[in-house]
Symmetry: C2
Amino acid sequence: MLKTKHEKSDKKIVVIGGGTGVFTILTALKPHFRNLTAIVTMADDGGSTGVLREEFGILPPGDIRRALIALSSSDNVMLANLLSYRFEEGVGLTGHSFGNLMITALHRITNDFEKAIEEAGKILVTEGKVIPVTLGHSQLVAELENGQIIRGESNIDIPNHDGNLKIKRAWLKPEVEINPNARKAILGADLVVIGPGDLYTSLIPNLLVKGAREALQKTKAKVVYFVNLMTKHGETNRFAASDFVNTMRNYLGDGVLDFAIINNKKPSPAQLSSYIKERADFVNPDLNNIPPKKNFMPIATDLVRSKGLIRHDSEKVAKAVKMII
Amino acid sequence: MLKTKHEKSDKKIVVIGGGTGVFTILTALKPHFRNLTAIVTMADDGGSTGVLREEFGILPPGDIRRALIALSSSDNVMLANLLSYRFEEGVGLTGHSFGNLMITALHRITNDFEKAIEEAGKILVTEGKVIPVTLGHSQLVAELENGQIIRGESNIDIPNHDGNLKIKRAWLKPEVEINPNARKAILGADLVVIGPGDLYTSLIPNLLVKGAREALQKTKAKVVYFVNLMTKHGETNRFAASDFVNTMRNYLGDGVLDFAIINNKKPSPAQLSSYIKERADFVNPDLNNIPPKKNFMPIATDLVRSKGLIRHDSEKVAKAVKMII
């Protein structure tokens, strides 16, 4: 099969996150960088993933699946469709993602979560690695501004509480250690990209893992945070870009973040209209409210897709990353 | 990856059956023949397959799966394990074969059963084809010697009736037509291998499909029947080789069968002992009870594995087929 050869960069890029954000960034960077590693949260406990966690006692496969699909270079385009397929029928199958079932089955065959991911990667012919941020089992817990405690990622994410209340802090229970392979990847990286993604349910759970902050503080890699395009009800209501950045810097600790990349192009009214029912708003690019720090630079630029869902545009993301690295 | 090159024959071989028999024959012939086609029964309605038939309204995937795995030439050995994996946990997943779920998901994505098989074949890198004997949905029905009617393949197979009673006749309800691709394969074959396999629940359901007998009567291919090594309680109690052959010839019609290949080596007592609880007996190779016919030859030879489960030995099967073709 004839393939156009790209001149891909050898720079080592580590993407940290979860959910569709990781998928978006990996898809954007894949044509330009050959050494991609995704470190993904192990806090997810909703939907198909939640059922499999409970019934099989495995680590959550959903974010692994999304990252593997993004990194797939298989000529078989059906494979990505298959791995993304979600059953809509069947008493026991409805809601299950086929890819999640594959990772679960591979775990049962290999009896090793990382080996299962490796085998899934072979089937998908992935270029790059997907690493669970921890191999420990724990639950995400959040305290709201009124003192209420919310247990479980999916209860925070949905939200199963008054979504107008701010999240005061989040932690993992029990505490879990960073996966040594995740630590090694961070320490060996040239660039670490955090986000975009749900702040408290996809990004911060990675930083709450014991040893993650230390690795990010120790690495020589530049650390970049892609601020979300839209707020999320129950997590980041009325957040402006400065709120995202300040929260992220709180969890990362001083001196870690080198760049925050902020979208300054407001999506079209047609694009925004479909977000009204989700109570999601455009994130105001208020760079002036971000306190200046030594060796830290917030950057505002047009990052949004011009049509359809309000997502980071692949080419614009790749351009921004190439400029920084 | 270095691979030893075999000199494979170009002869077109069609294997007709279902269950583990098809797997055994395909596995035996794969190293020697490059043009293998499996035509498999669509009568199965038990276990994981039965649930998927009922809940998704699809044709039964189980026999397709086994044949695809047998024909896989993927370097990825984990794939065959994965496709054969059966979930043992989970309220909704227990008992489901991962491979069946894959075929079901591919069917939902492609909305076409044969296309789903083709895509599964691509993933498994199969050498050869797997063809459902019919694309029509129907149920296997059997009448016992006492006049009792048993509906559904799995009720006959288990058996859900007095297993000592003989099956008088079997039919499909409603009648279904042969898959044109199955017909084409039979007509274009150099050799058609029927069996081994459960006589009434894996082999005969293929012959009951409208047009199957006609295709087998019309083909210039030699037609060979591998008689089972052991009887099956509820289907072929106390059957000797002559009973198998006579029944098969009844369903095939006159002049179709060229060879019946019968094992004459009794397995060891150790091998036989594990079949006592299944009430399965060694099939007596009573060649003298098979009425002679023009252009038909029963052949008795050692076909059994020397150890473990009483199955056809791959090398002995391959040798027998090579002699005939």
